[in-house]
C-alpha cells in the first residue's frame, strides 16, 4: 500500500521515539556505569525477514547503528522459523553478532496477527563476562575463550516464561553477578516497553500503514544516500594505515581501502588488509560493515539509521583477514581496528572530496586499567577509556579532548575515580604540540598522569597509535603519537610493544603517564592565518619553536 507523505513523516518520528525511549529505559535502570553513564547500548526495530535496521535510537553507541542487524539475522537463522510470541533470544557471540563478547544482545520477535511483524532488539555492554581478565580487555588473548564466556543464541524467554536455568548459567560466568542481573532486567524491561509502545502504535494507525511506513522509510533512506553519493566526483582513491601490532607479535598490521564512486553508487574494497591475527584486534565481517556505516554517517550526518542507506554501497571484505575473523579468533580489541577503518575511509574521502573531508581523530580508546588489593584485602579495578583530539575539518579546527568517533561516552570525573580507588591524578591536562598542523589544525590530545597510593598494583594498557600517527587530510599534517610510560617520577619505562602491555607492576608512589594523540590537520599549514598561529602559541597549544618550524615566522608579526 502507498502511504501519504504526511503520515510517513509523523510515523517516522513516532517510531524513532519508541527506540529512544527503550534506550532511556535501560540507561536509567542499568547497574553498570558503562551502560548507565557511557551509554554503551542500543535499541531498535528490525526487518522481519532480513533483520535489516528499520529504526534505531539516537542516544545509543554509534557503532551499534550498523551492527545490530547482524545480531537479529543471527537469531533469524538460528531459529529457522521456530519462533513464538513472547520469545526473547539472548547471546554475546561476537562472531555471529559483531563487536565483542562484552555486548549482551537480546532479540525479541514482535508478533501481529500470528506473524512476525518486526524484531525488537537490545544490546548492552556488561561489566564482566568471565574470561582471563576482569572487564574482558585481554590484549594477550589468542582465542575467545581467554576473553570471556561465550553464549550462542539461546531462547532466554519462551512464550513469556523466563528460562531461569539459562539465567543461572549467565550469572555463574561473571565476576559481577549483581551487575549482570541488573543489566539483564533493564534490557528485558526495555524490550517490554518497546512491545507496549508498538502495540499502541499499530492500534492507532493499523499494521498495514505502519508496515508501509517502514518500507517507505527504507526506500527514502536509500534515495537520500544515493543523492549524497552522487555529489562525490566519480573516480577511485586508495588509502592505507596501520595498527601498531596485535599485542602478541610486534608487527605492523596494514588496513587498506580502495574507494570508488560511480554515479550514485559507492564501493569500498578492503583488499590488502592484514590477515587474521593471533591477538585480539580481529573483527567479524558484520562489525566491518557496521563500521563502514559509521564512517559514512559521519561524512553525511543527515543519513538516517536505516539499512536502506547501505543499499547503494558495496563493501568488499577479503576472506581470512582481520576484518573477517572466524570463530574462535579473539575480538576483544575490536575498537582499535574499526577506528583505523574509519581513519582510512576518511583519508580516501579526503582525496575524493576534500571539501567534505574530516582529518583523522586520535584513533584509539586507550583502555587503561589499574588493579590491586587494598590493605584489608578488598579487590579494586579502575578501568577507563581516555580521550584525544578530533580532526580538523573544512569549517573549524578539531575539537580538543573529544570522545572516539564510534562512541559518545563521557569520561568519569577525577574526583569520582579518586574517591573510588587508591589513586591520585598528578596531571589531567591538554597535551601541547599534539595536534596535526593545517589551515584548520587538529584538536589537542591529553596527558593523564596517575600515582598509586596503595602498596602495590598492576596496570594494563590496550592502546594504539604508538607507531603510526593520526593523518591529516587535504594537505594537513599528522598529529602526535600515543606515548605511555610507567615508573617515575625520576625513572620512566615504556612498553616493549609501545601501546599494549599487561601486568605492569606499580609500587606506592609510582605512576603511569598516558599521552594521547591529537587530531590530524585539515588543509596545508601554510594557509593557516598567522593570527591563529599566534593565538595557539599565546595559549600554549603550540610551542614557539614548533610554530616557526611548521608555519614559518609570520605569526611573530601578529599581536595576538
Amino acid at each position: 500500500m502507498d502511504i501519504d507523505p504526511i503520515t510517513l513523516a509523523v510515523l517516522a518520528g513516532r517510531m524513532e521515539q519508541i527506540a529512544d525511549e527503550m534506550d532511556a529505559t535501560l540507561f536509567r535502570q542499568a547497574f553498570n556505569p558503562i551502560i548507565a553513564e557511557a551509554h554503551d547500548a542500543s535499541h531498535g526495530l528490525y526487518h522481519p525477514r532480513t533483520g535489516e535496521t528499520l529504526v534505531q535510537g539516537k542516544s545509543g553507541l554509534p557503532i551499534f547503528v550498523g551492527v545490530m542487524a547482524f545480531a537479529v539475522k543471527a537469531v533469524i537463522d538460528r531459529a529457522d522459523g521456530d519462533l513464538n510470541d513472547g520469545d526473547v533470544w539472548a547471546f554475546n557471540d561476537a562472531h555471529l553478532g559483531g563487536t565483542h563478547l562484552s555486548d549482551m544482545r537480546l532479540v525479541r520477535p514482535y508478533f501481529h496477527d500470528g506473524k512476525v511483524f518486526c524484531y525488537l532488539a537490545s544490546v548492552g555492554h556488561w561489566h564482566d563476562m568471565g574470561g582471563a581478565v576482569p572487564g574482558n580487555y585481554n590484549p594477550q588473548a589468542t582465542e575467545v575463550f581467554q576473553e570471556a564466556f561465550v553464549l550462542p543464541p539461546v531462547r532466554l524467554v519462551r512464550g513469556g516464561e523466563l528460562q531461569q536455568d539459562i539465567v543461572d548459567i549467565m550469572l555463574r560466568n561473571t565476576r559481577l553477578p549483581a551487575s549482570a542481573k541488573g543489566d539483564l532486567n533493564g534490557q528485558l524491561n526495555a524490550l517490554d516497553l518497546g512491545v507496549g509502545r508498538l502495540d499502541a502504535l499499530l492500534a492507532e494507525y493499523g499494521a498495514d500503514t505502519v508496515r508501509a511506513a517502514l518500507d517507505a522509510l527504507s526506500g527514502r533512506a536509500e534515495a537520500l544516500a544515493c543523492a549524497e553519493i552522487a555529489e562525490l566526483p566519480d573516480g577511485r582513491w586508495e588509502a592505507e594505515d596501520f595498527l601498531d601490532n596485535d599485542g602478541i607479535t610486534d608487527t605492523p598490521l596494514p588496513i587498506r581501502v580502495a574507494l570508488e564512486v560511480r554515479g550514485d553508487r559507492l564501493s569500498l574494497d578492503f583488499a590488502g588488509s592484514a590477515p587474521a591475527t593471533a591477538g585480539p584486534v580481529n573483527i567479524s565481517r558484520g562489525t566491518a560493515i557496521a563500521c563502514v556505516y559509521v564512517a559514512i554517517k559521519h561524512i553525511f550526518p543527515a543519513l538516517p539509521a536505516n539499512a536502506g542507506v547501505l543499499r547503494p554501497i558495496d563493501v568488499s571484505i577479503p576472506d581470512k583477514s582481520l576484518l573477517s575473523a572466524e570463530f574462535p579468533a579473539p575480538t576483544g580489541g575490536y575498537t582499535e581496528t574499526i577506528l583505523r577503518m574509519i581513519d582510512v575511509i576518511f583519508a580516501a574521502i579526503g582525496k575524493a572530496a576534500p571539501e567534505r573531508a574530516i582529518a583523522n581523530a586520535y584513533g584509539t580508546i586507550n583502555a587503561l586499567s589499574i588493579a590491586g588489593h587494598r590493605a584489608d584485602g578488598q579487590r579494586w579495578v579502575m578501568f577507563s577509556f581516555f580521550g584525544g583530539g578530533h580532526g580538523g575539518n573544512p569549517e573549524t579546527d578539531g575539537l580538543n579532548h573529544g570522545n572516539a568517533p564510534i562512541s559518545t561516552a563521557t569520561i568519569p570525573p577525577v574526583e569520582i575515580l579518586e574517591a573510588a580507588y587508591p589513586i591520585a591524578f598528578r596531571q589531567w591536562a591538554l597535551r601541547p604540540d599534539s595536534a596535526g598542523a593545517g589551515e584548520h589544525r587538529g584538536g589537542l590530545g591529553a596527558v593523564y598522569e596517575i600515582e598509586l597510593l596503595e602498596a602495590s598494583a598492576r596496570a594494563f594498557l590496550f592502546g594504539e597509535r604508538g607507531r603510526f600517527a593520526p593523518k591529516g587530510v587535504a594537505g594537513g599534517a599528522q598529529a602526535a603519537l600515543t606515548r605511555f610510560a610507567f615508573g617515575g617520577p625520576d625513572r620512566w619505562d615504556t612498553p616493549p610493544m609501545v601501546s599494549k602491555m599487561v601486568d605492569i607492576p606499580l609500587k606506592r608512589g609510582e605512576r603511569v603517564r598516558l599521552q594521547t594523540p591529537g587530531g590530524g590537520g585539515y588543509g596545508p599549514p601554510d594557509e593557516r592565518e598567522p593570527a591563529r598561529v599566534a593565538r595557539d602559541v599565546a595559549l600554549g597549544y603550540l610551542s614557539a619553536h614548533r610554530a616557526d618550524a611548521i608555519y614559518g615566522t609570520a605569526w611573530r608579526e601578529v599581536n595576538p
Binding site: V10, E21, K58, W428
Partner: protein
C-alpha cells in the same frame, strides 16, 4: 501607601509587565519592546508604561534573560581562574564529549582562555586530607597577574575541595585582601559537590556573569531609587524561587533560566486554583517549543543543564524540555523526500515569510496563516501579513517536492509540527511514567494555543487550559514565586557509616543560613519551609535517587533522626521510581540537599476574570474560512469579551492581542470563573 506588586519578564522581543494592585485586588498588564543589549531601558519603560509611579510600588519582581544572553553571546568576564597544579585544563577538557553525535565537526571555546587559568601548588585528597597546603604567595602572584591581564572576576577551583575546603578558603581569603571588587569565589562556596568539571564549570560561569549581571542590577537599582521606589526588588531564579539583589550579585548563575521558570510557576498556580492540578505547559516561541510538567501542583526540578555545548550549570532548576519546533521553524523536504520541521529557524527576525522581512522559506507560522488560523489583518505585534508570499513559499519548498497543493502542503507542515510537539509532550509524560489522560495542556506564549487541540488528540491529554493572559504568564509568575535558597554538601559514604549527628548539624547549618537569607530580604511571608533531600543509590549504581527525608526542625534545632529513618525514606523513594527494591542491597549517600523556602502570599486569580456582563453574541466578530482538511466557516470571537460560562463550539477562532486560540471541529471551549478557556472534546 504603596500597594502595587509588579512582575517584569524580559523576553527576546517584548518586555511583559504584570501589575497587581493589592488594595483593590485588580490586575493589569502592559507590554513594551525589549531593549538590547542592555535590557534595563525596556525594564524601566515597562514599569511605568501603564502610568504608575515607582513610589507606589511595594514589590518589583524581575524574571531576566540578562544572564543567559551574556553566556550565549559570551559577553561576561573577562575573568581568571586559579587552580590546582596539573588541572588547569579541566574547563576546556569537559567530560570528553562532543557537540553532536554525528559529523565530528565543531569546536569549543571555554569562557576563560588557557592563559587566564593559572596553576598553584596545593592538593587535597579524596578523603579530605590536605596533602599539600596551598602556596599563598603563589596565589597572590597569580591574582596580580590576572588583574594585570584585565580580569574583573576570579574563581578558585581546587580538586577535591568538596571534601575539604581548607585550601580554597585560604586562597580566597588571600585574594579578597587584594582584589579590587567582590567578584572572588571558590568552587566549594558555590557548589560543594563531587565532580570537578561540573563544579568548576558552574563556579567559573558564575564568576563570568558577575561583572555583567552586577552592572545590570546596579543600573536597575539606581534607576528605581532615583525614581522614588522604596519597596522590595527581587530576582527570579532558575529553581522557581526569588532572591534579593545581593544574592543575585553573588550567585548570578542562578538566573540562568529565570524567565521560563517564572512561567512554569505561574502555570502551577493557575493550575491549582482552577482545579486542574496536573498540567503540561507548552511555551511556543519563535525557535523552540518548551515543555514542563506540573504534577499535583508541583513543578519538577532538574539537577543540571547545559546552556550551550560545554557550558554546564549544576544548580537546581525547573525541568524544561525543549525541541526546535517554534513558529519560526522552517519546513523543508530532504533529499530522500521526507518532510522536516526545523531545527533551522527564521526566529522573530527576519521571521516567517509573511512578515515580509526577507525570509523566503516557509515556517510553521506561515502555514497557520495560509490555513486562515491566524488573522492576517491583526497579527501579534501589529502590521499586516503577506499571505500570498507565504503561499508561494509553501508551494515552492513543500508543495512541489511532495506533489501537494498549497492547502494540503500547509496542512502537512502543521501536522508534522504537531507531531514533533506531541513528541516533546510524550517525553515529559509517558516517558517519565505519567499517564497523559490525567493531564491538561496549558499553552502560554504567543503560538501554543493554535496547536492545543491537536495535542489533546495526538497525545491523549484530557483537555487544554488557555490562561486569560497567556502572553504575560512569566511576568505573572514573578509576582507569585516564593523566595527560595538551595544548599548542597557531598557526603559520599555508605549509609551505615554516615554520622547522623553530623548530618543533622549540616542540615541545621543550611537551615540557619537559609533563615538568615529570608530575614535579610525583609519580605513578608505567609509561611516558611525547610525541605531536606538526600541523593542516594545502591553501592555500585551510578544514577542516584532523590530521597525526601522527613526532618523536623524546632527553634533552629534539628530533631534527631536515625539510620532507620534514612533507609526507609530511601526504600520509599526507590520503590516509587523503579517499582522494586534490590533485596540485600547496600545503600550509599552521595549528597545532602536542603531548600529553605519563604512562602509568599498568593494572588487570587478571580481578580483577572472578565468583568463585562456581556454575552457570547456580543463577543462574536463574524466568521472566517479556516482550513481543517477542507475549508469551513469558523466563528471568530473577541476572547477577552467572552463572559464567564460562555461556550464556543468548534470550528472557531478566539482572538486577543497576545495570542490566537483555535477550537477545532469536534472540540468545545468554555470560559471558567477565572476567565481561562478550557478546551475539551465535545460530549458525544
Amino acid at each position: 501607601m504603596s500597594r502595587l506588586m509588579i512582575g517584569v519578564d524580559v523576553g527576546g522581543t517584548f518586555t511583559d509587565v504584570f501589575i497587581l494592585d493589592e488594595a483593590s485586588g485588580q490586575a493589569r498588564i502592559a507590554k513594551v519592546p525589549t531593549t538590547r543589549p542592555d535590557q534595563s531601558g525596556g525594564f524601566l519603560a515597562g514599569l511605568t508604561a501603564d502610568g504608575d509611579a515607582l513610589s507606589d510600588m511595594a514589590t518589583v519582581v524581575h524574571g531576566t534573560t540578562a544572564g543567559t544572553n551574556a553566556l550565549l553571546e559570551r559577553r561576561g568576564g573577562p575573568m581568571g581562574v586559579i587552580t590546582t597544579a596539573g588541572f588547569g585544563d579541566v574547563l576546556e577538557m569537559r567530560r570528553r564529549d562532543r557537540p553532536r553525535t554525528w559529523g565530528l565537526r565543531g569546536e569549543f571555546e571555554p569562557v576563560v582562555p588557557r592563559n587566564m587559568r593559572l596553576e598553584v601548588a596545593e592538593r587535597v585528597l579524596a578523603d579530605g586530607t590536605v596533602e599539600t597546603p596551598v602556596d599563598i604567595d603563589a596565589v597572590r602572584a597569580a591574582g596580580r597577574r590576572l588583574l594585570e591581564a584585565g580580569a574583573r572576576a576570579v574563581a578558585v577551583l581546587f580538586v577535591n575541595a568538596y571534601a575539604n575546603p581548607a585550601n580554597e578558603n585560604a586562597a580566597v581569603a588571600a585574594l579578597r585582601a587584594v582584589w579590587p571588587n567582590d567578584h572572588v569565589a571558590a568552587s566549594s562556596e558555590i557548589l560543594p559537590e563531587i565532580r570537578e568539571f561540573e563544579r568548576f564549570s558552574t563556579t567559573a560561569l558564575n564568576s563570568y556573569l558577575q561583572p555583567e549581571v552586577s552592572g545590570y542590577l546596579a543600573r536597575l537599582e539606581t534607576a528605581l531609587e532615583q525614581g522614588g521606589f522604596g519597596g522590595e526588588f527581587l530576582i527570579v531564579q532558575s529553581n522557581g524561587g526569588v532572591m534579593d539583589p545581593p544574592t543575585a550579585r553573588r550567585l548570578p548563575i542562578r538566573t540562568a533560566l529565570s524567565g521560563p521558570a517564572a512561567g512554569v510557576i505561574a502555570a502551577a498556580h493557575i493550575a491549582r486554583q482552577s482545579g486542574h492540578p496536573n498540567v503540561i505547559t507548552g511555551d511556543m516561541g519563535g525557535t523552540s517549543f518548551d515543555v514542563a510538567l506540573i504534577d499535583n501542583g508541583d513543578s519538577v526540578l532538574a539537577a543540571q543543564t547545559s546552556i550551550d555545548f560545554g557550558m554546564v550549570v549544576r544548580t537546581p532548576m525547573i525541568e524544561i524540555a525543549t525541541i526546535g519546533a517554534g513558529g519560526g521553524s522552517i519546513a523543508w523536504v530532504d533529499k530522500g523526500g521526507l518532510l522536516n520541521i526545523g531545527p533551522e529557524s527564521a526566529g522573530s527576525d527576519p521571521g516567517p515569510v509573511a512578515y515580509g522581512r526577507g525570509n523566503d522559506r516557509p515556517t510553521v507560522t506561515d502555514a497557520n496563516i495560509v490555513l486562515g488560523r491566524i488573522n492576517p489583518a491583526r497579527p501579534i505585534g501589529g502590521g499586516t501579513l503577506h499571505v500570498e508570499a507565504a503561499r508561494t513559499a509553501i508551494d515552492t519548498h513543500v508543495g512541489a517536492p511532495l506533489g501537494l497543493g498549497t492547502d494540503e502542503a500547509a496542512e502537512a507542515i502543521i501536522r508534522v509540527a504537531n507531531s514533533r510537539m506531541a513528541g516533546a509532550v510524550r517525553l515529559v509524560s509517558i516517558e517519565r511514567g505519567f499517564e497523559p489522560r490525567r493531564f491538561t495542556f496549558m499553552p502560554f506564549g504567543g503560538g501554543g494555543a493554535l496547536h492545543a487541540g491537536a495535542l489533546i488528540s495526538e497525545v491523549g491529554l484530557s483537555s487544554a487550559l488557555v490562561p486569560r493572559y497567556p502572553g504575560v504568564t512569566s511576568a505573572m509568575g514573578c509576582v507569585i514565586a516564593d523566595m527560595r535558597q538551595d544548599y548542597v554538601q557531598t557526603v559520599n559514604m555508605p549509609t551505615s557509616a554516615a554520622d547522623v549527628g553530623q548530618l543533622a548539624e549540616l542540615i541545621a547549618d543550611h537551615h540557619r543560613r537559609g533563615e538568615k537569607f529570608l530575614a535579610d530580604a525583609q519580605v513578608t511571608f505567609s509561611g516558611r519551609d525547610t525541605i531536606v533531600e538526600l541523593d542516594m543509590a545502591y553501592v555500585g549504581q551510578t544514577h542516584t535517587v532523590a530521597v525526601p527525608l522527613p526532618v523536623a526542625i524546632a527553634d533552629g534545632t534539628v530533631v534527631p533522626f536515625d539510620h532507620g529513618a534514612i533507609e526507609s525514606a530511601f526504600e520509599a523513594a526507590y520503590r516509587r521510581v523503579y517499582g522494586r527494591l534490590l533485596p540485600g542491597g547496600v545503600t550509599r549517600i552521595l549528597n545532602l540537599r536542603t531548600a529553605v523556602i519563604g512562602r509568599r502570599p498568593r494572588i487570587d486569580l478571580a481578580t483577572l476574570a472578565p468583568d463585562a456582563i456581556g454575552t457570547s453574541a456580543d463577543a462574536r466578530r463574524g466568521t472566517r474560512p479556516v482550513h481543517f482538511g477542507r475549508w469551513l466557516d469558523a466563528a471568530i470571537y473577541d476572547r477577552l469579551a467572552l463572559p464567564v460560562g460562555a461556550t464556543v463550539e468548534g470550528p472557531a477562532v478566539l482572538e486577543q492581542p497576545d495570542t490566537t486560540i483555535l477550537i477545532e471541529p469536534g472540540l468545545v471551549g468554555t470560559v471558567d470563573r477565572f476567565g481561562n478557556v478550557i478546551i475539551e472534546r465535545e460530549a458525544p
